[in-house]
Symmetry: C2
Subunit: 156 residues, 2 copies
């Protein structure tokens, strides 16, 4: 088990969360494919081979637990399944409305300084998270004339 996963298992145990094979498996799946901001179903499909009896409902329940304990961020986009992001620090995303991919902007393109990312209160309201999302059409889809792809996550 990767140290990162091990650490999260410990963290949850300390919080009183019962650590089952399934929950650990979802932590590992997140570790393995978290970068693509997977849906519950993506994670389920990723784990099916290794854990044939795992159910999708369990994946959803597990992700909710992880979310409650701050291990994942939930992302919603109109007409899209909920995505899960293991990076819980405020960081901007790009969402392509054609192919449906979501990615972390900062990895490919440094963005201008954005002071709102660090705000902890706002006019008396408690800020727990800050979501920034660029919505549009990605370079690839622009080139290909806006033709939606069959696969959500091209192998590239």
């Amino acid at each position: 088990m990767r140290p990162d996963v091990e650490r999260k298992v410990q963290f949850l145990r300390e919080k009183g969360v019962v650590m089952t094979i399934q929950r650990t498996a979802v932590l590992e799946a997140l570790d393995e494919i978290g970068k693509v901001h997977p849906t519950a179903e993506d994670l389920y499909n990723h784990l099916r081979e290794r854990y044939p009896t795992l159910s999708l409902a369990t994946v959803y329940n597990t992700l909710e637990v992880f979310h409650r304990f701050g291990l994942v961020q939930e992302l919603s986009f109109p007409r899209q399944e909920r995505r899960y992001d293991t990076n819980t620090k405020p960081h901007p995303h790009f969402f392509c409305r054609v192919c449906g991919r979501v990615w972390d902007v900062a990895e490919t393109c440094p963005i201008p300084d954005c002071p709102v990312l660090d705000m902890e209160t706002m006019d008396g309201n408690k800020v727990e998270r800050v979501y920034i999302c660029f919505y549009g059409v990605c370079e690839e889809c622009l080139r290909e004339g806006f033709k939606p792809k069959g696969e959500r996550w091209p192998s590239s």
Copy 2:
């Protein structure tokens, strides 16, 4: 009919959209309660009395048309129905995870300058919209000890 609504009716007509009583009604409802970032159902309920035969499906369809022509922004939050916002310019929202209310931050609290709001391309990707959302607990819910309210939109 308010001039703002009249203008939008004209705009849609020029785009070749057939303007029906229902579509105009939804424009008016948006004009009247748009500030609360209503769901399709909120708009439907708002209009039921005046248009008893209006159906929720029509409201959804109508909102999709408006969205296609850039008259509304769609907002999605985890575990929440889709919201509609008549302000289509990039502007930050606050979303209270306890009472579920959404509002425009700029109206109550000027936020620091945020250059990302004006970006039109990002590393070759075409940016059409920029969403910024503060997620947390509003002042009122903090005071009331995180007790979720029955009503989504208190009369205040």
